[in-house]
Symmetry: C2
Subunit: 194 residues, 2 copies
Amino acid sequence: MYRRLLRRLLSQGGGSVFSHELSQMAGNTAAQVRRDLMAVGALGSPAKGYDAEELMERIGGFLDGVGGQKVALVGIGNLGRAIMAYFTGLRQLLEVTAAFDNNEAKTDRVINGVRTYHTRDIEEVVRREKIAVGILTVPVDAAQSAADALVRAGVGGILNFAPVVLKTPETVFVEDMDMMVALEKVAYFARNGG
Amino acid sequence: MYRRLLRRLLSQGGGSVFSHELSQMAGNTAAQVRRDLMAVGALGSPAKGYDAEELMERIGGFLDGVGGQKVALVGIGNLGRAIMAYFTGLRQLLEVTAAFDNNEAKTDRVINGVRTYHTRDIEEVVRREKIAVGILTVPVDAAQSAADALVRAGVGGILNFAPVVLKTPETVFVEDMDMMVALEKVAYFARNGG
DNA sequence: TGTTGTGAATCTCTTCACAGCT
DNA sequence: AGCTGTGAAGAGATTCACAACA
């Protein structure tokens, strides 16, 4: 998130920032910003704050590995397409290189610059292309088996949009993006003052 | 989330659960489950655990208000449509009743059973229909002004999918669903063992 | 025996507050 | 004078552990 803020800052000609300015942009406290930046090994000067370019590099060194990582997307529905469009061309270090669906009408094509395959080929393609991360945008019933295929193919992490708790070995990192839960949370706090 | 698990459990004929069973399904610890259920005022018996029906009611009493709440969606792109399809008919207490876009080709129609309007009418429609919650699925540049309109119309909360930090009065609850950040997080832990 | 409900302990995250620097 | 870096305090969340109970 800081990276995004810094990118915008740089494009507007800002060369350095104080923690309280960043916290403004981030919706944070200044202390939180300083802690976070400590974690990536960034350092600023009391006089000028943090240098934006150097900060970006520090965050990059922390978040991005040595090279880039390939991403596979499973489930080419509205959501899948939205996500492909969203990520395509945005970060070259995190590239969606294969998409899967079990509807033949959607396979063996190129959508949004991404090659599409049939779900049955997940394991082979993901392994061959050394894809490290999977995004799951399939209906609930298909989620676990798709996750299993990704895990068998050796991915290290899954971003899961399906409203199920996936069963995976604990060596695989799973992040849930549960829109139903999120909406209920908002509805709750909209009523009960948040 | 518990609600979803219980719904499935009931449909499979399970009448009661122990905390350790629920924790299995939820990917939790048993202690966590008991704490959470305490919070909604549920109580179980050492002999039979928690009664699934009664548990659902307790959670409902806690999460849902007296009546239902209306939801507006701003931004009818792939993501917006995916979300409409996703939420439509799922929960009758949380209903998407209006969608907005600034592309005239998408307005004054009914998509997925949802009436669509032009963005310029957000304030009027939301106020008239007493909509309490907004979902933002617009591009970055349009996000803040759409949020402002929602806030002026009096919504109590916003579910924000745009990768920006929204500026809103603190009486309005904002939940960010940042897919880029989520993907970076997964990519990070996929590499650095999570 | 096996489970709940819950104080107490532990762990994690956030905020405070201030010495040290420019 | 005003900021950073960071120990120490504080706030929250999770886990432990056990009395009470069926």
